[in-house]
């Protein structure tokens, strides 16, 4: 059980500042996912935790111990690399054993541990093989086994699934979740894939340009995005963010003080139903459907609003609507409000909740 703490951690390469100043607490035993667009500093953060990069400023501690001057091999962390980084010069067994051997674990114990792990991840028949005789999925397992065998308190994973095909990726996702449950170790997982982040993480750290945009559980990240960036990053298609008057004067009148933008999830927009008139709290508006994507289970409409803004509407209807003008309905409760700085404006209903504002 190791909590990871980053305090005022900054990283620059020469004049190029990757991370200005990061304060981050990764709770012990959590499956924390660092997610964000490429270049947002998530990998750099992970590598600093691993000790592969030295922070320019600030301090990092793992399990209450400052690790700034601790070599990567002594931090009690194991890492799975995107390209697996399996030693091509060693057999599968030697690969898994390498860390133990360097840590002077006695030979018999080593053998036992390696075989135990190999059995767990299903590599037993491959132990004597060279890595280049393995498939992508098997190499992935070697990389995992190599990390697991050291029984680290912290697992660091840098986009470990991105080299696998879609089917295997899905499968490995579930395996990793199970692995996390079983080991109870702290997982720090880097990905740029929001689906991976949402489906695996118990805590998501959304980053952009070296800053944390939001850190929360997946459901909260989806339900209460702290700013426009977050609202658009999570969800497919992204949240519709339009000026507050785009849905008409009635909606604009409901806006809390300071609101400049409103956001509404595509799946929260409904088509007006003649058999059920709009109730208070619902607003109707005519939009023009200009395109349709049929994804099988769902239909995604692209529509133009009266003020010219484009929005997406996601429905699970079986029959596609024709293009052209149609009446859509939105519930005021489903609307997220953002101020001029694109920060979320807290709903008065949920008063008392402490909101940490992270300036973009």
């Amino acid at each position: 059980m190791s909590q990871i703490e980053l305090r005022n951690v900054g990283k620059s390469y020469g004049d190029k500042e990757i991370i200005p100043s990061l304060d981050l607490t990764i709770e012990a035993g959590s499956f924390s996912v660092l997610v964000g667009p490429s270049g947002c500093g998530k990998s750099t953060t992970l590598r600093m935790i691993a000790g592969l990069e030295k922070p320019t400023t600030g301090t990092i501690s793992i399990g209450g111990q400052t690790v700034d001057d601790v070599a990567p091999g002594r931090r009690g962390v194991a890492m799975v690399f995107q390209n697996y980084a399996i030693y091509p010069t060693m057999t599968v067994e030697e690969n898994i054993e390498f860390g133990l051997r360097n840590n002077k674990v006695p030979k018999l114990e080593r053998r036992e541990l390696v075989h135990e792990i190999a059995e767990t991840v299903g590599l037993t028949p491959h132990l004597r093989k060279n890595p280049d005789a393995l498939s992508g999925g098997e190499r992935q397992r070697v990389a995992l086994a190599r990390a697991m065998v050291k029984k680290p308190a912290v697992f660091l994973m840098d986009e470990p699934l991105s080299n696998l095909d879609a089917k295997l990726r899905q499968h490995m996702r579930i395996e990793l979740i199970e692995l996390h449950e079983r080991l109870g170790a702290t997982f720090v997982y880097v990905t740029h894939d929001q689906v991976e982040a949402m489906s695996m993480g118990t805590s998501i750290v959304l980053m952009d340009s070296g800053r944390i945009q939001q850190q929360s559980a997946p459901t909260e990240l989806y339900a209460k995005p702290q700013n426009v960036f977050t609202s658009r990053f999570i969800g497919t298609p992204p949240m519709n963010v339009v000026p507050i008057d785009a849905f008409g004067a009635d909606v604009a009148a409901d806006a809390p003080a300071g609101a400049e933008w409103l956001g509404v999830r595509p799946e929260r927009l409904t088509f007006a139903d003649a058999s059920r008139p709009a109730v208070p709290g619902e607003t109707e508006l005519t939009v023009t459907i200009i395109a349709l994507e049929n994804l099988g289970a769902e239909l995604v409409y692209r529509a133009a609003m009266p003020d010219g803004s484009r929005i997406a509407i996601k429905r699970f209807d079986e029959i596609a609507r024709p293009l052209g003008d149609t009446l859509v309905r939105v519930e005021t409760n489903d609307i997220h409000w953002f101020d001029a700085n694109e920060e979320r404006i807290a709903e008065p209903a949920i008063s008392g909740q402490v909101r940490e504002v992270v300036t973009a």
Partner: protein
């Protein structure tokens, strides 16, 4: 102008030939246009094959010819070797030329010197090149690039330019007529450091990082990961050094004053000086000089090819 006329023609003929199959129109005889290029192509192909064979044979003659002549002469008697017209084969394998070569100079002594100098150079080079190349490839330190430039620059200094100062230096240091004097200057090979550095640089960073996370020391990283991956390059450097040192004539000659540490290449020409009409014995001596190189080359061949076609790690 021509471009507007030319293009429509081929589709028309193509259409004709296709229609001829279904019987609707009489089969049109193959046009001159359709045939000539094909014959021309075949002819051209034949010419090319013949040219390739001729050139290959010429190259074989240029490279293997002298070698064959050496082997041939080494097994001939003196009269056979000097006969006119020359004789291109031998009736039986005769070893007495080799025995004579051994007897005429103190062959074993020189061969041992050659082995010591070559082995010492190889070992020394390995000990110097590997850490140097690893440091240049993997570490950031002040003055690294300047230092590497200096290492590269040493390749451009001709040995003939500095042999005299080095000789004077040896005399002062009391290193004259020692094996060390023939080994020391060659163990820090700029070329070897350069070639190995390039190989080390192609090893993916993540491999090294994974090893660091596995708590491997730099020495372990070199021994277990870098060296096995760089094996083809190391074998190649070793081979180049082996050939260069084994065949080196100039430095063993000018940096020594006695026969104490002189090597085979210095001894072989003496076979000539002892007896002006003994090309057979000289060639036998040459063969003895060349055979070790051939053996090493055959053993290392596979690695040399992969050293220059190495594309990195999957």
């Amino acid at each position: 102008m021509t471009t507007t006329i030319a293009p429509p023609a081929p589709p028309a003929s193509a259409k004709n030939s296709r229609q001829s199959g279904d019987g609707n129109s009489p089969p049109s005889p193959p046009t001159l246009r359709g045939v000539t290029p094909r014959v021309g192509a075949t002819l051209w192909k034949v010419v090319r094959v013949i040219a390739r064979i001729v050139i290959s044979l010429a190259l074989v003659l240029v490279f293997a010819g002298p070698f064959y002549w050496m082997v041939l002469t080494a097994f001939q008697t003196a009269s056979e070797a000097l006969s006119i017209p020359p004789q291109f084969w031998v009736d039986s394998l005769r070893w007495d030329n080799f025995v004579a070569a051994f007897d005429r100079v103190n062959f074993g002594h020189f061969a041992l010197n050659s082995a010591i100098v070559t082995g010492g150079t190889l070992l020394g080079q390995f000990l110097i090149i590997v850490p140097a190349a690893y440091a240049f490839a993997r570490f950031q330190f002040k003055g690294r690039d300047v230092l590497f430039g200096v290492v590269l620059a040493t390749m451009m200094i001709p040995g003939q330019l500095i042999f005299l100062p080095v000789f004077a230096m040896y005399a002062k240091m009391g290193l004259l007529n020692t094996h060390l004097s023939l080994i020391l200057p060659f163990i820090a090979s700029g070329f070897g450091i350069f070639l190995l550095r390039q190989t080390f640089m192609r090893v993916p960073d993540s491999l090294i990082e994974a090893a660091r996370l596995d708590h491997a020391s730099e020495f372990t990283i070199i021994r277990r990961i870098m060296l096995p991956l760089a094996k083809p390059t190391i074998v190649t450097i070793g081979l180049i050094t082996f050939i260069g040192t084994w065949n080196n004539y100039f430095f063993p000659l000018v940096w020594t004053t006695t026969d104490a540490v002189r090597t085979l290449p210095v001894a072989i020409p003496r076979l000539e000086a002892l007896d002006e009409i003994a090309p057979t014995i000289v060639m036998a001596g040459n063969m003895l000089l060349v055979v070790p190189i051939l053996i090493v080359f055959l053993l290392a061949r596979r690695h040399i090819i992969s050293a220059f076609t190495y594309t990195g790690v999957k």
